[in-house]
């Protein structure tokens, strides 16, 4: 009993770190472009599929870690230019446009990849004893990679020119444009970065979940929950909320079935929305 609790809690924690990556992408797009991105779960799904394709093309799993975010970035930038820019940040229209995008991405994957879900064998096999349970090495590795990617993203946001531009445009678009920041280009790159984060999460998660053209449908509500509970625009909050939620769901799953776990996190989210709409961590962030 103690073992299952521990195992599920660990699984939840690691899944939360991966979700944090994806939700961060959603949060960046949401915060900067004011786009409610219904297709974000599919960005993740595209990542898992890219990992599968690069594995079957080259026989090397690790190439997917580079290919997935790279292609994701390019597709994201193209999407922003072709689809998102013409609707001028009207949130209602963005829902329709990204709904259409979601259908197109899912259907394209169904045509090219097929409708049957597949599994990717973990590139690192074996288990290690951890707190008395045998734990899969790849999951630990995935957690480490996600943590590193999260850290890299925050460093990117704080210390690179593009990162500073992104924060500046978000903070005050008018002033940023007046200071000579090419806001239009920042939007394109931001959407690319958002897609890349989700696709990278997909590549990392591919050996843990299944590769399926409908794989994003379940991930999307979870990411929105993380973004809302963490507080709109509060990026560290998003990460914390993702980890907290997945951990809680893992814990509840050890005593009840996954649906009950999902329902309880949804109830938690309603409470947060109604009582603390600025997010659970408002005031804790600087």
């Amino acid at each position: 009993m103690r073992d299952t609790v521990l195992l599920l809690a660990m699984n939840g924690l690691i899944w939360g770190l991966i979700i944090a990556l994806i939700a961060l992408g959603l949060s960046v797009i949401f915060g900067l472009l004011d786009i409610i991105n219904i297709a974000h779960g599919d960005f993740f799904m595209v990542g898992t599929v890219l990992a599968w394709f690069s594995l079957s093309a080259t026989g090397n799993f690790w190439i997917g870690f580079i290919v997935a975010p790279l292609i994701g970035f390019i597709i994201g930038a193209i999407i922003q230019r072709l689809v998102i820019q013409p609707i001028h940040g009207v949130a209602a229209l963005s829902i329709v446009a990204t709904f259409g995008l979601s259908l197109i991405l899912q259907e394209t994957v169904r045509i090219t990849f097929g409708a049957t879900p597949r599994r990717i064998l973990a590139p690192i096999q074996g288990t290690v004893p951890l707190f008395g349970v045998e734990y899969e090495i790849y999951r630990l590795f995935a957690a480490a990679v996600s943590l590193a990617a999260l850290a890299a993203f925050f460093l990117f946001l704080q210390h690179t020119k593009l990162g500073i531009w992104m924060r500046a445009v978000r903070h005050d678009r008018e002033t940023a444009v007046a200071m000579g920041i090419p806001a239009q280009r920042v939007y394109v790159l931001t959407f690319g970065v958002g897609f890349a984060l989700a696709a990278f999460g997909g590549a990392v998660a591919a050996p843990i979940t299944t590769v399926d053209f409908r794989g994003g449908v379940d991930v999307l509500p979870f990411c929105f929950m993380a973004v809302i509970i963490g507080g709109l625009g509060n990026l560290p909050g998003t990460v914390a909320a993702a980890v907290l939620l997945a951990f809680l769901e893992g814990m509840i799953q050890s005593v009840a079935d996954p649906t009950v776990a999902r329902i309880s996190s949804l109830v938690l989210m309603s409470a947060v929305l109604l009582l603390r709409p600025q997010g659970l961590f408002k005031g804790l962030a600087k």
């Binding site: 609707i87 949130a91 829902i95 446009a97 509500p221 329902i263 109830v267 929305l273």
Partner: protein, 338 residues
């Protein structure tokens, strides 16, 4: 031709077509299309419920499938579980949808914009997962089937929805009645209050409108429309399933509304018709019809951000202006003087 006579002509043509459908369609093509048109009518009512909230009150609900599902399960459980006859089951479906809308609306309408969209989808997800997990009662994703009770008897003749023509007219009458009610509502003082809130909720509250109560009323009324459409769909398919409560179903209503034209009476009908007709035509030839649906949704928001009906209204206004310019030049010169 003036705008008004053109529009009256089109409305009359559409009404004549809808009445003639059970005879016209089998003569022209296949009987199958009668049931497609029945389905379009039902779903356009569902889209109208999203439109009432978004187009007239400015609240973007992403959870209308919840009330659709309650209407559906009210009917299915009423017949299958409690052994109700047709009308009580219909009533149960509608009232349970409205009750659910009231309960969730009390919380949801306190929020606005993004937060409102998200809390409505959260509520609908909670009940979707509940419905999936309560499999003995709801049948989960597989759903529950039931057999139709007769609608009413007249002497020895029994009217039942198993007759496709009667079913079509039943749906047509109910849907038209709901659209008429919505039309009356929008043009009532209450409806003007809705529009005031949509345009500026702060100003609306400053002129003495109770924004919270008005939003709640609109939310329950939208729940009513969604509940009626769900109940009709349960009768139409003779089953209810949790899969119709998923957020993607709510999303479709929003997409149909916005593509058709939010804030217009017939926008949802136009959008729903467009998407379902394309689905039916393309899906029989090509498996991947959602590719076209997705592309269409994107093209629609880029080239017709006010929807198809909005595009049409724009043309009509330009037509009016041209008429005014050609028929009444003296008035224009008069106005030009200070």
């Amino acid at each position: 031709m003036t705008r008004r006579s053109l529009e009256i002509g089109m409305a009359a043509g559409a009404a004549a077509f809808l009445i003639a459908v059970p005879w016209l369609i089998p003569a022209l093509t296949d009987h199958f299309w009668v049931s497609v048109i029945t389905e379009i009518l039902i779903w356009s009512l569902f889209a109208a419920s999203a439109n009432l909230l978004f187009g007239y009150v400015g609240l973007l609900s992403f959870g209308q499938a919840l009330y659709f599902g309650f209407g559906m399960y009210g009917v299915a459980l009423g017949i299958d579980h409690f052994g109700l006859s047709f009308w009580p089951a219909f009533g149960l479906g509608i009232t349970s949808a409205m009750a659910m809308a009231l309960v969730s609306g009390v919380f949801a309408v306190r929020l606005s914009w993004h937060y409102f969209a998200i809390i409505t989808v959260v509520f609908s997800l909670i009940f979707y997962f509940l419905a999936v997990s309560m499999k003995p009662l709801t049948g989960g994703d597989d759903g529950i089937n039931f057999s139709l009770p007769p609608v009413f008897r007249m002497g020895r003749t029994v009217f039942s929805l198993t007759d496709p023509t009667f079913q079509y007219f039943f749906v047509l009458v109910v849907v038209s009645l709901c659209f008429f009610l919505m039309y009356r509502l929008i043009n009532s003082p209450l409806g003007k209050g809705f529009l005031a809130i949509r345009d500026n909720d702060l100003r609306a509250s400053l002129i003495g409108l109770n924004v919270y109560v008005l939003r709640l009323i609109a939310f329950v009324m939208a729940g009513f429309l969604a509940g009626v459409s769900g109940a009709l769909f349960a009768f139409f398919g003779r089953y209810a399933s949790a899969s119709y409560m998923f957020y993607q179903v709510s999303g479709e209503a929003v997409v149909w509304t916005i593509v058709g034209g939010a804030g217009t009476m017939f926008g949802p009908l136009v959008g729903t018709t467009l998407f379902i007709v394309i689905r039916e035509i393309v899906s029989s030839h090509w498996e991947h019809h959602s590719l076209i649906v997705g592309l269409l949704a994107i093209l629609a928001v880029i080239f017709a951000p006010k929807g198809i009906v909005g595009l049409w209204n724009g043309w009509m206004i330009r037509l009016d202006e041209r008429d005014a310019a050609t028929s009444a030049p003296p008035r224009l010169t008069l106005q030009a003087k200070p």
